[in-house]
């Protein structure tokens, strides 16, 4: 265990507690937010708002820095294109999110809370990521 892995573990742990506290790890709560035309629970808009309020100044700072605090480069995405892959992929993700109320992080957190349904979701998600790789290798 070096400082880089300990730091990443701490980040994952805080992220996990944030997802639990916010209600994001509870699929029924998520579906209540996505049910815009029913009895709408607006809570999760505040999760995104709270996260971005902290993230905005820090990512602005990170863009100006040369190195990360633990050494090494700061890896920021460089892709700019708004292409078909981005839109169709996001759409498929949104449909899956709306079907079960799980996105990737909360799926893992609920698996850590020993929920069998969440484990089924996560295994299927890992299979989906594996299929992506196979499809990518075919086209290249």
């Amino acid at each position: 265990m070096n400082r880089v892995t300990v730091s990443a573990f701490a980040s994952g742990l805080i992220f996990s507690v944030g997802l639990l506290l916010s209600g994001m790890a509870n699929p029924e709560k998520v579906l209540g937010f996505l049910d815009l035309f029913g009895a709408w629970d607006p809570s999760l808009a505040l999760v995104m708002g709270g996260a971005i309020a902290v993230g905005l100044p820090v990512f602005t700072l990170a863009r100006k820095r040369e190195r990360a605090l633990l050494g090494g480069e700061i890896h920021l995405p460089t892709k700019r294109s708004l292409d078909r892959r981005l839109v169709l992929g996001s759409l498929a993700f949104g449909v899956g999110w709306g079907l079960a109320g799980f996105c990737p992080g909360p799926g893992i957190v609920a698996t850590g809370a020993l929920q069998p349904g969440a484990a089924v979701f996560v295994l299927a998600m890992l299979a989906g990521m594996f299929f992506f790789r196979i499809l990518e290798q075919r086209t290249h």
Binding site: L13, G50, G55, R63, L69, A124, M129
Partner: protein
């Protein structure tokens, strides 16, 4: 649209959001990495062979273990909040496959595009976030109000 005030939990939602923001801020400043969960998982699933990629597996695995450990650490101090999963196993499998494939094609999910991308004011992440939100709204509308599931 009617607002369900009984379900509205603004304080815990905001506080949880701030923690998510702090975790993402910490990972970019200390480790120089984006806290995009689909990207981190994808990096572990599609294990690349190069020395550069292999170096990533340590921090990626540590971050995922932190996510998994969260509920256990929480349970040491408090009762875990409810996690209500009403979807059947076939629906959970279909949802998982769509989320896994979709987030890899879009190169991000709620964390990578939604939190980190919007914090970077990335137009690409804004487009992704609007698209998956609309996909989620439409799916729940169809399931709950057209099909009555």
């Amino acid at each position: 649209m009617t607002i369900d005030w009984n379900a509205f939990t603004p304080i815990s939602a905001l506080a949880g959001g701030v923690l998510i923001g702090l975790a993402s801020a910490w990972l970019i400043l200390a480790n120089g990495r984006i806290a995009g969960i689909s990207g981190i998982l994808g990096g572990l699933v599609n294990r690349e062979r190069g020395p550069q990629e292999r170096r990533n597996h340590g921090w990626q695995l540590a971050f995922i273990l932190g996510l998994l450990a969260g509920p256990g650490v929480w349970a040491l101090f408090y009762v875990l909040p409810p996690i209500e999963i009403n979807a059947s196993y076939p629906v959970l499998v279909a949802a998982g496959l769509l989320v896994g494939l979709g987030t890899r094609y879009a190169a991000g999910c709620t964390s990578g595009h939604g939190v980190c991308g919007l914090s970077r004011l990335s137009p690409r992440s804004l487009a992704a976030t609007l698209t998956f939100m609309c996909g989620g709204f439409a799916t729940v509308f169809i399931a709950r109000h057209l099909l009555g599931a």
